[in-house]
Symmetry: C2
Subunit: 346 residues, 2 copies
């Protein structure tokens, strides 16, 4: 990659734009790196200097054409991404320079916003990256998906896949807080040790090195009441054979399938939903937007009393975007993956 | 098949037993035809002379080993089946000779019962075969599946597959009675004409001769709120692409997959459940046993006022069992498939 990194504090806005739709994993030719002048906010707008960019599995889906819960990113457009930044200039009545804000600012240094969908950071004592993690979309996704779709009851067994990921770590901890037995599925001994020793899961399953079927049989003696699924594929099929009666599968993602070039792998064992009188249900976190503040308050309380932890995996440098995004699909990230882009300019 | 049919009124009990577990469609060598003496009821038991045997898609599943909602039929055992018969001898305090009863009597002429799971025919003015159809398990399955899992609301669009089958015809008519727009998927022009002209469906899709995707787009302009699925396979995958927001898929069966030799085809498009905030849920009708009488009363009312019709496809002769069962999987039956076995003896 040739990079024309703008000097710190310069008037250059570095951007990653979608150049072509990927087949399978995104490759260099899918991206266009471009520098533009920093835009100026118009009336009713403000300028955000982006500090942290959220890298999420769902971004792969946004690169595809076709109907989904949000429109695809257009070819030639700045890649869509959530981010946290500092308001550096404002002609907007409600947002002032010097405030930290969270919104969908894209993979770039600067964004102009009219305030729609933008949230002000309410507590500057919280590490800023947590606003993209446990207090941001991943945390909201875990909170509403687990509680509103999974309906876990104390004493039930909850299984979470991608359990060391941004959403999985929070979902599992909330299940523990609600009094459930929590089993996390993650890749590698380090992540498995982490979710048990640091996050308080009852057990872990290392899908890269263990027989998942046998491990679930061992760790879920009363079968699985709630499965919070971030991965789809073979693991979903295995969990389907271990459901308890009236089990709920929360469809949050299917990261194992996002880079498939053919059709996704459907769950062959879905008819166990009939045998076990169980359900599989999807949700989109945006539907709960009016309740984000309520969820953030409750989760901030759990963070304050030590019952909820969050781990962020921060990579530095806007130039690193294409390679860093791939960590999500190889499972290399450990906790919420964030690109730090603003610390270069203070 | 060589048959030693017992003479009418004889003391011979003809039986079809499971000789070997099938791979794919059941073949002759999976069955053993046997004649035995008519058993005698012991204390607290009664003897049923079976008149009608219910042939149901689920029977194929009962022939397999492995965990399901009921144990498999054991090798060498009389094949499990629902049926309607006449009590001809009784040493049971509650069931008397001369009463018609419905129960799981097996594929044979005579069965001894202790009364567990047996229901007395309450209204002899109703055609007896309806007790194996709209007022029997298929009707109960349609009623509770549609209403308790599908939750159809007036004005919503309900799609039913295998719509001319025993369960589908009832599910579709109940949806119509509840004020829904009802679209049935069935195989062949005759069935499609029947469900629209005779049963009052709003539209039909002939999956054997039409482009199902295009037809659903045409007939479900507001997409699909409830899909009552009896077939699984490709049709399920197509309907998944046409769901309305908060749609409910009622998993009742997957007849297209029952005779697969490999794993079932999982629904590749299941992640539309996420996009559409939809759910897919299974149920087992036995769970609603305490409410059968309530459902039968309501459906009998609909039959009486002409809003609910039922069609039975009756084949005569116990010897015809193996060939007749296959009609379910080739889609040859038209309405509830029933084997008439008792009329030979009056």
């Amino acid at each position: 990659m040739t990079s024309t990194t703008g000097p710190p504090g310069s008037s250059v806005n570095r951007q990653w734009r979608l150049a072509a739709r990927p087949h399978g994993l995104p490759v260099a030719s899918n991206w266009e790196y471009r520098t533009e002048p920093v835009p100026e906010p118009g009336d009713g707008e403000f300028l955000v200097h982006i500090l942290y960019i959220s890298l999420d599995p769902a971004m792969r889906g946004w690169m595809n054409e076709g109907r989904s819960y949000v429109p695809p990113v257009g070819l030639g457009e700045v890649m869509r991404a959530g981010g946290l930044g500092l308001v550096v200039a404002s002609a907007h009545p409600e947002f002032k320079a010097g405030e930290h804000v969270v919104g969908t600012f894209g993979v770039q240094d600067y964004a102009v916003s009219d305030g729609r969908g933008v949230i002000r950071v309410s507590d500057e004592s919280v590490p800023l990256v947590q606003y993209l993690s446990v207090l941001g979309m991943p945390g909201m996704t875990a909170y509403f998906g687990l509680l509103e779709i999974g309906h876990p009851a104390a004493g039930e067994t909850v299984v979470v896949s991608a359990a060391a990921g941004a959403v999985g770590q929070v979902a599992g901890q909330i299940a523990r807080i609600k009094g459930c037995r929590v089993v996390g599925i993650a890749g590698g001994a380090e992540k498995c040790r982490f979710i048990v020793d640091e996050l308080g899961f009852d057990a872990s399953v290392d899908y890269k090195n263990e027989d998942v079927r046998a491990a679930l049989r061992e760790h879920c003696p009363d079968r699985v009441d709630v499965y919070f699924d971030n991965v789809g594929g073979e693991i979903l099929d295995i969990v389907l054979t271990r459901l308890a009666r009236h089990a709920r599968i929360v469809l949050c993602g299917s990261i194992s399938q996002y880079n498939n070039q053919g059709p996704a792998r459907g769950p062959s064992n879905y008819m166990t939903l009939l045998v076990d009188r169980a359900r599989m249900e999807g949700f989109v976190v945006f539907d709960y937007a009016k309740r984000y503040a309520e969820a953030a308050r409750e989760m901030a309380g759990w963070i304050a009393d030590g019952s909820l932890k969050s781990v962020e995996h921060v990579v530095t440098g806007l130039e690193q975007f294409p390679e860093t995004l791939l960590k999500l699909y190889s499972g290399e990230n450990f906790g919420k993956l964030i690109l730090s882009v603003g610390d270069e300019v203070g």
